[in-house]
C-alpha cells in the first residue's frame, strides 16, 4: 500500500501529509514535480504550501509540472488523488475539479481550528466518515474562498459532490460554505482545511483528519482484494 506525496518547489506540508499517511498505515513515496514517474503508488496527495511561490495564481504553474501530466492521466483511470489547500488549488487549475479558489473575502491569511460537516461521504477518501458527521481540523490559507458559477454549484450539490461544508462559521467566504468537493467518479477530492494536521493528539486539535487516509487505504485494499 503506497501513498505518494508530491513535492513542488514551495510545497510546505508535504512532510505532514507523508506523516499522516504513515500514521494511517501506508508506506509513503515522495514524488518530485519534475519527475513524471509515479513510482507505482496506489494514491497521490498534493500537499499544502505555495508551489512556485504562488506566482501568477495559486496552482497555475504547478498544473504544468511533468508529474501533473501523469497524475491527470492516472486520475482519469481511477487513481485516488487528494489535494489539500494548495493541492486543491492545483486540482482546480488542472481541471480535475471544477471551480476556483480565490482570495479570502476578509483579505487576511487565516489559521484557526475549524468545524466541518460532511454532506456526502461517497468516494474513496471519505468512507470512514458518515454523512452529517462534524469534524474539527485546522484551516490555514489566504486564498481559500471557493467560487463557481451557479450552474456548477447546483450540479455539485445535485451529484453529491460537495463533500464537506464549513460549520460554525465560514473562514474565507467560500460559496455555499464549501470546504471540500470531489469529482463525479469519487476518486479525486479537494479540501481547503488540513486533515494532515489533525492526526496526533500532541500536535493537532483532534484526530479527525486521519479518516481521509484510513479511508483510502481501505478502498485500495478492497480494490486489490
Amino acid at each position: 500500500m503506497k501513498i505518494g506525496v508530491v513535492t513542488f518547489p514551495g510545497s510546505l506540508d508535504d512532510g505532514d501529509a507523508a506523516r499522516a499517511a504513515r500514521i494511517a498505515g501506508a508506506e509513503t513515496v515522495r514524488l518530485w514535480h519534475a519527475d513524471p514517474d509515479l513510482h507505482g503508488v496506489d494514491a497521490v496527495v498534493l500537499p499544502g504550501g505555495f508551489s512556485y511561490g504562488d506566482y501568477l495564481r495559486c496552482g497555475a504553474i504547478a498544473r504544468f509540472a511533468p508529474v501533473m501530466d501523469s497524475i491527470k492521466a492516472a486520475a482519469g483511470a481511477g487513481l485516488p488523488v487528494l489535494g489539500i489547500c494548495n493541492g486543491f488549488q492545483i486540482l482546480c487549475e488542472a481541471h480535475l475539479l471544477p471551480g476556483a479558489l480565490t482570495r479570502n473575502q476578509h483579505l487576511h491569511f487565516r489559521n484557526r481550528d475549524q468545524w466541518l460537516r460532511f454532506t456526502s461521504v461517497e468516494g474513496v477518501w471519505t468512507g470512514d466518515y458518515s454523512e452529517g458527521q462534524e469534524i474539527l481540523i485546522p484551516v490555514k490559507n489566504g486564498e481559500g474562498c471557493y467560487v463557481a458559477d451557479d450552474k456548477t454549484l447546483d450540479e455539485l450539490e445535485a451529484n453529491g459532490q460537495i463533500v464537506a461544508r464549513y460549520h460554525n462559521g465560514n473562514p474565507n467566504g467560500s460559496m455555499r460554505d464549501i470546504a471540500a468537493i470531489r469529482n463525479e467518479a469519487g476518486n479525486v477530492l479537494g479540501i481547503m482545511p488540513h486533515p494532515e494536521h489533525a492526526v496526533e493528539d500532541l500536535t493537532g486539535p483532534s484526530l479527525d483528519g486521519l479518516g481521509f487516509f484510513t479511508s483510502v487505504i481501505k478502498h485500495i485494499a478492497g480494490v486489490k482484494a
Binding site: 491569511f109 489559521n111 493537532g204
Partner: protein, 747 residues
C-alpha cells in the same frame, strides 16, 4: 562617470569624499585613509561606512556586551556563542539547537509589510548559516497607542508581512508579543526570533579557509534595494522625511528563501562546502570581509560576475546592496560542479564570483579594474569602539518617587468587577487572535504549544518526544522605571514562561532596543539593562548565546522606552509531559505559588486606569524563579499538574481569565483580605497551578519541599469566574470583553 579605481584613488589623493553623508565621522574617515595608506575608493568608502555603522560594528555597545561573556556560567553545551550568526547549544550527544532574536525596526516603520517580512527572512538565514533547519519563528512586536491612526497603518502591514513571509517559508509561528505604548508611536519595534535544529556534527563555519577554494554566491539576484539599510536606516535617528528612505528597505521573496533553505541543507548533508555566510545587513561587503577575516585569508572577487537585477548598477552598489535571499559559500574546486548541480535541482541561481587567497587582502575587480583592496579584518573586526558618556536620566528620581501604590484603588465589588473587565479588554491584555491567526502555527506538524500559551513548544525528535520550549518577553515600562531591574524582570518572565511548561531553561538570546547612543541618558539605560541581564543570567546559570542591539529607536529627541527583549530556550525530554496554561477539567484545586505584595508601579492597572507610569518596578527574586522552575520540572515529570500559568502583566486576574477562557472552564476563587491587591498586583515569581484533587497532597508536599510560599485559592469548574463574597463574571461576558478589542480597532 568612470569607475573610481584603486589606481585612480592613488593619483587623486585630495578628492573630496562624502564620508559624512554616509554616516562616518571625520576621525573615522582619517583612520580609513591611514589603514589603506591612501584615500578609499568610492566602493571602499561605501564598505567602511556600512561595516563601521552602529548596526554592524556594535561600536557603542561592544564594551558593555563583553559582560555577557565574562559573567556567563561555564557551559559545555555551548557549541557556538556570541559573534557567530547565532548561538548553538547541544541538547543531546548528537542534536543541537540554535536560536536568535533580531530587530527590523526602522524598515518596518518606513514600509511595514516588507520591513517586517524581511526581518523574518534575515533571522531565518542566520539560523540556516549555522547548519540548522529552521523549525519555528516568534515575533515580539511593539506599536504606538492602539487607537492612534498611524498604528492602523503600521500594525496590519507588519502582521501581514510577518505572516506572508513566514507562512510561505513553511515555518510555524509559535509565539511572541503584541504590546502597545505611546512611546513607540514614531518608532515601532519589530523583532523576529528563529529557532533551528541540527545534528551537532553538521555545525557550519563562516571562515573562508583554503586558498584556491571557490567563492560562490547563491540565491536571488542583486538589486538596488536595501542599499544603506544598516547605515542609513538602522544607525540614525528618524526625523521629517523618513519616508524618503523607503529605497533603503529591502524587498523579500519568501519562495526563493524556501528554495535556499532546501539547497543549503542538501549542501550541508552532502558535505559539499567548507564555509558559509548569509547575506543580511551590509550584504556582500559583510559576507566577503567577515568570511575572509574569520579565516585570516584573503579573497579575489570578480564583482561583474554577480547576477544583477539592473545592469546599470555600479560596483559600490553591488557591494552595499542588501537584496534578500542570498548566501555565500566557500567550496573546494572539486565540489563546485556538485554545488552548482544542487542549486539547479532547486532552481536557484549559483555563481562562482571569486577565489580564496593567502594574501590577507580582499581584492575586488570590476571588469578587470581593481576597485577594492582592503585588509578584511579592518572592516569586520577592527571597527571603532566608543565608551560613550553615561548619565542617569534627569527625570528618573522624580519618576521613581511618583509611586503607583499611592493611586486611588477600586474597593467595592462592583468597582473591582468593572476594573477587571476594563483590564481584560485593554489593548495589551486583550485577545491577540486577530494577529496570531494570520500566522501558520501548524506547518511541519511538530507544534505542541503555540500562542497564547506561555511558551511555544516544538517537538524536535518524533521518536523520543524530545522538544524545545521558547518564550520572548520584555516590559519596557519596568525598564523605563529601572533598567537594571527591568532587564532582570524580562529575563525572569521569559525564564518562568519556559519553566511553567515543565521545560528546563538552558540558554538566552536578547534583542536590545534603545534610543540614540549619543544621548548619555539612553546610553545609561543601555548600560544598566545589559548589566542587569548579564547579572541575571549569571545568577540563573544560563548563558546569553547571541542577540542583537538596535539603537537610534527614536523620532526626533524622544527615545522609546528602553526595551530589552529576552528570549529563553528550554528543553523538554518528552513533550507529551508539557503543562498547558488552560484549565483542563472541573474540580481541580487552584494553587497560587509565590508571594503577592502591593506592587503596582509600572503595572497594567496603573497604566490603563490612571495612565500612570512611575515608582519602582516589582522586586524580582531569581533564586525563587529557579526554585519554581525545578518544582515545575518535577511536577511535569510526575504528571501531577493539569495546568499552570505564569503571572505577569495584569496579575492574578488576567491569569485566571486566560486559563479559564482557553477551554471555557470557569473557577471559584477566594481573594483573601485585600481583593484588589490579590487580583491586580504584578509581583514577580508567581505561578497559578491547577491540580486534580487526587494529586493535591502530593503536589503540596512537593511545594513544601521546595520551600515555596503558596496558598490554595479555589477550584476550577462552572461557566463563570466567581470571586467569593465579591463578584462573578460569566465566561461569555469575559470572552466578549477580551476578544472584541483588536477586531474593533483593526477590522
Amino acid at each position: 562617470m568612470s569607475i573610481d579605481t584603486v589606481e585612480r584613488a592613488d593619483s587623486t589623493p585630495d578628492e573630496l569624499q562624502p564620508f559624512a553623508e554616509l554616516g562616518l565621522k571625520e576621525d573615522e574617515y582619517l583612520r580609513i585613509r591611514q589603514i589603506l595608506g591612501r584615500r578609499p575608493t568610492q566602493s571602499e568608502l561605501a564598505m567602511y561606512s556600512i561595516m563601521w555603522s552602529e548596526h554592524c560594528s556594535y561600536k557603542s555597545s561592544k564594551i558593555h556586551l563583553k559582560q555577557f561573556g565574562e559573567k556567563a556560567p561555564p557551559s559545555d553545551r555551548m557549541l557556538a556563542g556570541i559573534g557567530e550568526n547565532a548561538g548553538v547549544i547541544a541538547i543531546t550527544d548528537t542534536l543541537a539547537v540554535t536560536f536568535k532574536v533580531e530587530s527590523h525596526n526602522h524598515p518596518s516603520f518606513v514600509e511595514p509589510h516588507q520591513g517586517a517580512a524581511t526581518g523574518v527572512g534575515g533571522i531565518v538565514r542566520d539560523i540556516l548559516a549555522m547548519g540548522a533547519r529552521p523549525v519555528a519563528v516568534m515575533d515580539p512586536l511593539r506599536f504606538g497607542a492602539a487607537d492612534h491612526p498611524d498604528t492602523r497603518r503600521v500594525l496590519p502591514g507588519v502582521v501581514g508581512g510577518i505572516g506572508g513571509y513566514g507562512n510561505c517559508l513553511g515555518l510555524p509561528n509559535i509565539g511572541g508579543e503584541v504590546v502597545f505604548d505611546p512611546s513607540y508611536q514614531g518608532n515601532p519595534l519589530v523583532n523576529a526570533l528563529c529557532v533551528g535544529v541540527l545534528p551537532a556534527d553538521r555545525l557550519q563555519n563562516k571562515a573562508a579557509v583554503g586558498p584556491g577554494n571557490i567563492v560562490v554566491l547563491m540565491g536571488a539576484k542583486t538589486g538596488r534595494d536595501g542599499i544603506g539599510g544598516v547605515s542609513v536606516l538602522a544607525s540614525a535617528t528618524f526625523d521629517e522625511g523618513s519616508e524618503q528612505r523607503r529605497p533603503s528597505v529591502q524587498v523579500g521573496d519568501p519562495f526563493i528563501e524556501k528554495l535556499l533553505i532546501e539547497s543549503c541543507l542538501e549542501l550541508y548533508e552532502s558535505k559539499l562546502i567548507v564555509g558559509v555566510q548569509d547575506l543580511g545587513g551590509a550584504g556582500l561587503t559583510c559576507a566577503l570581509t567577515e568570511t575572509a577575516a574569520a579565516a585570516g585569508t584573503g579573497m579575489d572577487v570578480q564583482l561583474e560576475k554577480v547576477h544583477l537585477r539592473e545592469a546599470s548598477m555600479e560596483p559600490h552598489e553591488v557591494l552595499a546592496s542588501e537584496s534578500q535571499e542570498r548566501m555565500l559559500f566557500i567550496v573546494e574546486p572539486s565540489n563546485l560542479d556538485a554545488v552548482l548541480g544542487v542549486a539547479s535541482v532547486w532552481g536557484v541561481i549559483a555563481t562562482p564570483i571569486g577565489t580564496v587567497t593567502d594574501t590577507g587582502r580582499v581584492r575586488v575587480t570590476w571588469h578587470g579594474e581593481t576597485v577594492v583592496d582592503v585588509p578584511p579584518g579592518s572592516l569586520a573586526d577592527d571597527g571603532p569602539v566608543y565608551a560613550r558618556p553615561l548619565r542617569e536620566p534627569a527625570d528618573l528620581i522624580l519618576l521613581q518617587a511618583d509611586r503607583a501604590e499611592t493611586l486611588p484603588r477600586p474597593s467595592t465589588p462592583d468597582e473591582l468587577r468593572e476594573t477587571l473587565l476594563r483590564l481584560v479588554a485593554s489593548p495589551n491584555l486583550c485577545d491577540k487572535t486577530w494577529v496570531t491567526e494570520q500566522y501558520d502555527r501548524y506547518v511541519l506538524g511538530n507544534t505542541v504549544l503555540a500562542q497564547p500559551e506561555d511558551s511555544g513548544i516544538i517537538r524536535i525528535d518524533e521518536e523520543s518526544g524530545l522538544g524545545v520550549a521558547l518564550s520572548v518577553d520584555g516590559n519596557s515600562r519596568y525598564t523605563r522605571l529601572d533598567p537594571y531591574e527591568g532587564a532582570k524582570l524580562a529575563l525572569a518572565e521569559a525564564f518562568r514562561n519556559v519553566a511553567v511548561t515543565g521545560a528546563t531553561p538552558v540558554a538566552v538570546t536578547d534583542c536590545l532596543n534603545f534610543g540614540s547612543p549619543e544621548d548619555p541618558a539612553v546610553m545609561w539605560q543601555f548600560a544598566e539593562a545589559v548589566r542587569g541581564l548579564a547579572d541575571g543570567c549569571q545568577e540563573l546559570g544560563i548563558p546569553v548565546t547571541g542577540g542583537n542591539v538596535s539603537f537610534y529607536n527614536q523620532t526626533g529627541a524622544v527615545a522609546i522606552h528602553p526595551t530589552p527583549i529576552v528570549g529563553v530556550l528550554g528543553v523538554l525530554d518528552d513533550v507529551s509531559q508539557r503543562i498547558p496554561m488552560g484549565f483542563t477539567q472541573a474540580d481541580d484545586v487552584l494553587f497560587l505559588l509565590g508571594e503577592t505584595t502591593a506592587e503596582f508601579s509600572g503595572s497594567e492597572w496603573a497604566w490603563v486606569t490612571h495612565e500612570h507610569l512611575g515608582g519602582k518596578p516589582p522586586r524580582v527574586d531569581l533564586g525563587r524563579e529557579q526554585t519554581l522552575a525545578s518544582l515545575m520540572q518535577r511536577a511535569s515529570a510526575s504528571g501531577l499538574v493539569h495546568a499552570a500559568h505564569d503571572l505577569s502583566d495584569g496579575g492574578l486576574a488576567q491569569a485566571l481569565v486566560e486559563s479559564a477562557l482557553r477551554k471555557n472552564i470557569g473557577a471559584t476563587v477566594s481573594l483573601g483580605s485585600d481583593p484588589f491587591v490579590t487580583l491586580f498586583s504584578e509581583s514577580a515569581s508567581r505561578i497559578l497551578v491547577a491540580v486534580s484533587v487526587g494529586h493535591r497532597q502530593a503536589f503540596e508536599a512537593l511545594v513544601t519541599e521546595h520551600e515555596i510560599p503558596h496558598s490554595v485559592i479555589g477550584v476550577t469548574g462552572g461557566s463563570s469566574l466567581v470571586f467569593r463574597d465579591q463578584f462573578e463574571i460569566p465566561l461569555d461576558e469575559l470572552r466578549s470583553a477580551w476578544s472584541e478589542t483588536l477586531p474593533k480597532l483593526f477590522g
